[in-house]
């Protein structure tokens, strides 16, 4: 990575204006992933001075500032309290405390990494990404579209969902071979997201549909796992074969559903 100039703007307007006027400029969150790239960055825009480092709670939402580190996200009482601690659980095995003290929520979302544990977890919650210019965007839409914008924060609706996160890793701190998040509303509707396929998290829509119509028995959880594993596309890489990922999907989805219904 080469950086020509380093900027720490005092306002988000200023940051945005550099981002949109300077070719090859780049937002720096923690910078932990960017440094692995071979990018030549003209202006590095460090958001440290914009007070985007917060986790707060309103009546309806949890709000997480883009510069909140993954470590804060992991140990914060608010994130631990809701959704059976799925946010905290999903990121606790990312490398180590030292990396999680650097990597930011904004970076973890904007990177749109296929292996992302956080995106899989957030996908099953009612989560919106607040962009400086584009405003509030649903997480799925944010993932599927390109924005030349700044993530200010993410907001998650507090809606009594129960949720569970499952992942299989090689060593304990490796990238997930497959990760799965499942949530359930009071109205018996489920959200099932499967990530690290190795592609980014997508929804198991058919399995979600199936669960709407049946009771919460173990057999139905297993059936839902099977449906999910058949509707979702997996590919092979050196971490695992598509075939193995498909098997894991079946088991992890069903286990997550069972945990929720315990």
């Amino acid at each position: 990575m080469i950086i020509d100039e380093y900027k720490k703007p005092q306002t988000i307007e200023e940051a945005y204006s550099i981002l949109t006027t300077k070719k090859n400029s780049q937002i720096i969150g923690g910078g932990a992933y960017l440094r692995l790239s071979k990018k030549h960055i003209s202006s590095a825009i460090d958001l440290s001075n914009l007070k985007l480092d917060f986790i707060s709670e309103t009546d309806d939402y949890i709000e997480i500032g883009a510069m909140t580190t993954l470590r804060e996200l992991e140990i914060n009482e608010i994130t631990k309290k809701y959704f059976n601690g799925i946010i905290s659980n999903s990121i606790r095995n990312i490398v180590g405390v030292q990396l999680r003290n650097i990597a930011t929520t904004g970076g973890a979302i904007s990177g749109k990494f296929g292996f992302s544990d956080l995106i899989t977890a957030l996908s099953v919650l009612d989560c919106k990404v607040i962009l400086y210019k584009a405003g509030a965007v649903k997480l799925v839409d944010f993932i599927n579209q390109k924005y030349n914008d700044i993530v200010e924060k993410i907001i998650i609706r507090k809606n009594n969902q129960i949720a569970d996160f499952q992942a299989i890793r090689n060593t304990k701190t490796d990238y997930a071979i497959l990760n799965v998040a499942v949530s359930k509303h009071t109205n018996n509707s489920y959200k099932i997201a499967v990530g690290a396929r190795p592609g980014i998290a997508i929804f198991a829509v058919k399995a979600e549909g199936f669960l709407k119509t049946v009771d919460s028995s173990k057999e139905n959880a297993e059936k839902a796992g099977l449906i999910a594993s058949q509707e979702i596309k997996f590919t092979s890489n050196f971490r695992a074969s598509a075939e193995y990922r498909q098997e894991l999907c079946k088991v992890l989805v069903s286990r997550a559903i069972c945990n929720i219904n315990k």
Binding site: I3, K8, G31, D46, V97, L99, N101, K172
Partner: protein, 150 residues
């Protein structure tokens, strides 16, 4: 570019490149205890404390550290000696390359976790790889240290 930061409780103004990592800057400024072990943020050998929290100096832009306070093993010799005594006694320092980073992480663990279980200890320290010892001696030493400190 010039940045202002505190290294081991000393105010410094340092000339850096905008893309320089904190690791290189610290080593250039005499903190040779900070080790380079990988290029990907995976090993923990480069751990330093930034405002008392452990970070990977290899993955942290020096420019980002502007205005912050950094502690390396050079700046915490007494505490390091207290912890290391247990590591040395248990045979937990083999080549020693991973140890400065480990000890700094132990220092912050001590502050953050109250009475940690063995599982919490290994989880907190899991970002510090060691290829020599097999880790068991570290765990024995750290448990003993925390126990006797009480």
């Amino acid at each position: 570019m010039k940045i202002k930061l505190k290294i081991n409780n000393q105010d410094k103004i340092i000339d850096i490149r905008p893309d320089e990592m904190l690791l290189e800057v610290l080593r250039k400024n005499g903190c040779l205890s900070v080790k380079h072990g990988c290029d990907t943020g995976s090993c923990g050998a480069c751990t330093v404390l930034l405002d008392e929290k452990p970070i990977l100096s290899c993955s942290y832009l020096a420019a980002k550290a502007e205005g912050h306070s950094i502690i390396t093993v050079e700046g915490a010799q007494k505490k390091v000696e207290q912890i290391s005594k247990y590591l040395v006694d248990e045979g937990g320092v083999q080549c020693g390359f991973c140890i400065p980073g480990l000890v700094l992480t132990v220092m912050s663990m001590e502050k953050e976790l109250n009475n940690p279980s063995e599982e919490e200890i290994t989880h907190y320290l899991s970002g510090n790889l060691c290829r020599c010892t097999g880790y068991s001696s570290h765990t024995r030493a750290i448990k003993k240290y925390l126990e006797e400190k009480k």
